[in-house]
């Protein structure tokens, strides 16, 4: 049995934040879960995926976040509790649905989980999704700890049903990827059968209907504000005259700072866990008894701006601060020492930071950046494109996935990246104005997610670029989740209909389509040359299963290679491919046989033919 289905209320379990969130939803009787994978949210859905195998839970990896939210919105309007999980930038993709879904509302609880990523551990921006609450009018709940993440997720379903609106649960990486002890609650059996009752004057958002629905939404925001005023998720600790208002993980750093600075009697803390709509009365009352207030929040001055406006309304002139040069930054994530130092400085409390050793005489440590794996087919494609494009002046738009790492030297394949799917769209603009040949990269999952419209745009508007679809048969970057091209039978999930990328691309009207096997370099280079020479939109599909994925499916067949004494130390292998299986010993190139998977790409480019498969006992 899946550990998150353990039916022992009160039992304590060590859980990752993402497991606690999944557990909270299961306890609330979740019936339908949808997602597009994205760090730091991915393990929530991975758990749902596993649970769906052994329970009545319906789960799907949707094509993108917009589709995921639409599936969940329909399910919730059929009366079953639903959840839609995504990373922060995923909400941008789902935003069109989100904004008007707030007008339409829901019948059963719908929880939208957004996992924000301050410091961008694995994201392209660090946008603060609390503004989506304000923008859409939907309530936002924010946990401060792993244990609270379980409670808040479960409560969010009830709140959603009370208001008949979706509820946004907003986490940050340090909730999702922290681990702590979580007491289990009882599991409510899910209602898995839905029914849709037709009511077009509520559900079909033509202007006349939406004008009425907007009025309803504003009423719901008022109702939510009243609930926020009374919510136990907004609470005050301590009784001092100095005030701190904080949310999320900042609350932990504040709590520890107050202990460390021994100012328990001086400071009182307002922790905001129901952060949209903001509880105006609660905040005004808090401010009225304080001499000065510090707002501690990662990201933007979301609460600070609101608190200052409320102080003005209440005619209060106490100092209120949060973001500023000598205070907190809008950049990155906070840490305990930072919060301790700013708190001490702002409230003028004596504080001596711990002495840190002088490190100026430490040797420089070589960087250890993430790298494409040994035997990664992307490396072979990048090398082949480089060879095929020799003599051409090329701009390489790239996209989001493992292959983004190809922008690093020596491969240097990646010149422009904004967001999921941007490679095919930007290629149109580059082909018109860059004055260069345009060769764009996109992965299979990203292509399905949002790359297809850019390709259609290129065909219709007669742009001139080559789109290389790096079809490694999985969503590798986030941990090998399925995408619409994946063979689900291999994963023992029958009943799916995988999409054939080649047939799809041809059906879109692309006139030049080639499928290459990237580990066959010579043929790949020839096919790529043809595609690059084609005037108009051409597509090359590089089809080779992700090595790690193949390994997990026990499909790796290759034998490791070795460097023989024919090697004359040209080092083309290392300098052009930078495969991590290579190392240098006694000034000679060597291959680590435990890393090498036998893709043979290095053997194909060695000018001395010095790289061969290792002979095993069976060969002799």
């Amino acid at each position: 049995m899946h550990k998150l289905l353990t039916d022992q209320p009160g039992k304590e379990m060590l859980m990752l934040g993402n497991e606690a969130i999944a557990r909270g939803a299961i306890e609330a009787g979740l019936a339908c879960a949808t997602t597009y994978p994205g760090t730091p949210s991915s393990e929530i859905s991975l758990n749902f995926f596993q649970i769906s195998k052994e329970s009545a839970l319906y789960f799907e990896y949707s094509t993108n976040e917009k589709t995921a939210l639409e599936v969940a919105a329909a399910a919730a309007n059929c009366g079953v509790r639903s959840m839609c999980v995504m990373k922060h930038v995923g909400v941008n993709v789902a935003a069109d649905t989100l904004m008007t879904l707030a007008y339409v509302g829901v019948k059963a609880g719908l929880v939208i989980l957004t996992a924000d990523d301050p410091y961008m551990f694995s994201s392209q921006n660090e946008q603060d999704n609390r503004y989506y609450g304000k923008l859409s009018g939907l309530p936002i709940l924010e946990p401060s700890s792993v244990a609270e993440a379980r409670e808040i997720t479960a409560e969010a379903f009830a709140l959603s049903e009370m208001l008949q609106e979706p509820v946004i649960v907003r986490t940050t990486t340090r909730i999702n990827h922290s681990t702590a002890v979580v007491p289990l609650g009882p599991i409510q059996p899910p209602k898995t059968r839905g029914e849709f009752i037709r009511d077009p004057y509520q559900y079909v958002t033509v202007p006349a209907v939406s004008r009425r629905l907007h009025v309803k939404l504003l009423k719901n925001i008022e109702a939510a504000a009243a609930l926020s005023e009374k919510s136990t998720r907004n609470f005050i600790t301590g009784t001092g005259n100095l005030g701190i208002i904080c949310n999320g993980v900042s609350y932990n750093y504040v709590t520890d700072a107050i202990q460390d600075l021994q100012i328990m009697d001086k400071v009182s803390v307002l922790r905001m866990g129901f952060s949209h709509p903001i509880p105006a009365v609660l905040i005004k009352n808090f401010l009225s008894s304080k001499e000065m207030v510090l707002v501690v929040e990662e990201g933007e001055a979301y609460m600070e701006d609101a608190v200052k406006a409320l102080a003005q309304e209440a005619g209060l002139t106490l100092p209120i601060a949060g973001k500023g040069k000598t205070l907190f930054s809008r950049l990155g994530e906070f840490d305990p020492a930072m919060v301790r130092a700013v708190t001490a400085a702002y409230f003028d409390i004596p504080y001596e930071p711990k002495a840190v050793p002088d490190l100026t005489d430490m040797p420089e440590i070589p960087q250890r950046p993430p790298n494409l794996c040994a035997g990664c087919s992307h490396r072979a494609v990048f090398h082949a494109v480089k060879k095929a494009a020799e003599g051409l002046d090329v701009v390489y738009p790239t996209d989001i996935g493992c292959y983004t790492l190809g922008f690093l030297p020596p491969l240097s394949m990646g010149d422009f990246l904004i967001c999921m799917g941007s490679s095919s769209g930007t290629s149109g603009g580059f082909s018109r104005f860059a004055g260069k040949k345009v060769v764009a990269y996109i992965g299979d999952s990203t292509f399905f997610h949002s790359g297809i419209p850019g390709l259609i745009n290129g065909v219709f508007n007669n742009h001139d670029f080559t789109l290389i679809i790096l079809d490694n048969r999985t969503t590798a970057m986030t941990g090998h989740q399925p995408n619409p091209g994946v063979d689900m039978e291999e994963l023992n999930f029958p009943g799916y209909n995988p999409i054939d990328i080649e047939a799809l691309v041809k059906a879109l009207g692309v006139k030049h389509v080639a499928v290459i096997k990237p580990f066959n370099l010579k043929k790949s280079i020839a096919q790529l040359k043809e595609a690059l020479n084609f005037k108009g939109v051409s597509v090359v599909i590089a089809k080779e299963k992700c090595t790690l994925y193949a390994k997990s499916l026990k499909q790796l067949r290759g034998k490791p290679f070795y460097v023989s004494d024919r090697c004359k130390n040209h080092r083309d292998c290392i300098n052009e491919l930078a495969c991590p299986a290579f190392y240098i010993a006694d000034n000679q190139v060597r291959i680590n046989p435990t890393l090498c998977v036998g893709c043979s790409v290095c053997a194909q480019i060695c000018p001395e033919h010095a790289i061969s498969p290792l002979k095993t006992k069976e060969d002799q």
Partner: protein, 197 residues
């Protein structure tokens, strides 16, 4: 209980996250409050994986620079890189077996001299324990047991409020059945090898 803060640094694939889970489970068995966090976005692609584990009465799940009570490194150059996490009282435990980053192979950096680097660590911190955890893991029966070897050395210091027996119990429940014996042996070898130098 005054919090004890532990940072573990390793190279992706060395089993850092499992080591953290074992310690977390041992804390749960010992009734010690525990919170931890990890950054592992690119773990499978050869990057550095760092975990922070806080035992005792604290709410934070991360550890600020200079505030680790113990640093455990699965690779010696990573111990040097993580020196900003230490203060003059920090106990440092490191594996001596190097895993040079790929950048040194392609000429973008030079692997540091171990002897001088380690003596600098010794000078700047509260103590240094070194052991060839890779060799001991092989002796225990599997190179993948580097993590449990280092857990043995860590528990030997007595800095964490965890008994060796609870860590052994956590190893029994948290590692794969087929590897329990190897991991327990690795834990003992690390425990015996830990000497402050």
């Amino acid at each position: 209980m005054k919090p004890k803060r532990l940072i573990i640094v390793a190279v992706g694939g060395q089993g850092n996250l499992l080591a953290s889970r074992i310690l977390g489970e041992a804390a749960l068995l010992s009734g010690v409050p525990v919170r931890m966090s990890e950054i592992h976005g690119m773990a499978q692609r050869g990057g550095v994986v760092e975990s922070a584990i806080i035992f005792g009465e604290a709410q934070s799940t991360i550890i600020s620079d200079g505030e680790a009570d113990v640093l455990v490194s699965f690779e010696p150059s990573e111990a040097m890189r993580a020196m900003n996490r230490c203060n003059s009282q920090t106990m440092v435990i490191t594996n001596l077996s190097p895993l040079p980053p790929f950048t040194t192979t392609i000429g973008r950096g030079v692997y540091p001299d171990l002897n001088s680097g380690l003596s600098l660590i010794r000078k700047k911190t509260g103590g240094l324990i070194t052991l060839d955890a890779t060799d001991l893991a092989l002796k225990a029966g599997n190179v993948m047991a580097v993590n449990t070897v280092l857990l043995g050395a860590l528990i030997r210091t007595g800095i964490l409020p965890l008994s060796a027996e609870n860590v052994r119990n956590a190893i029994r429940t948290r590692t794969k059945k087929a590897t329990v014996e190897v991991n327990l042996k690795a834990f003992e070898l690390g425990y015996e090898a830990a000497q402050i130098v």
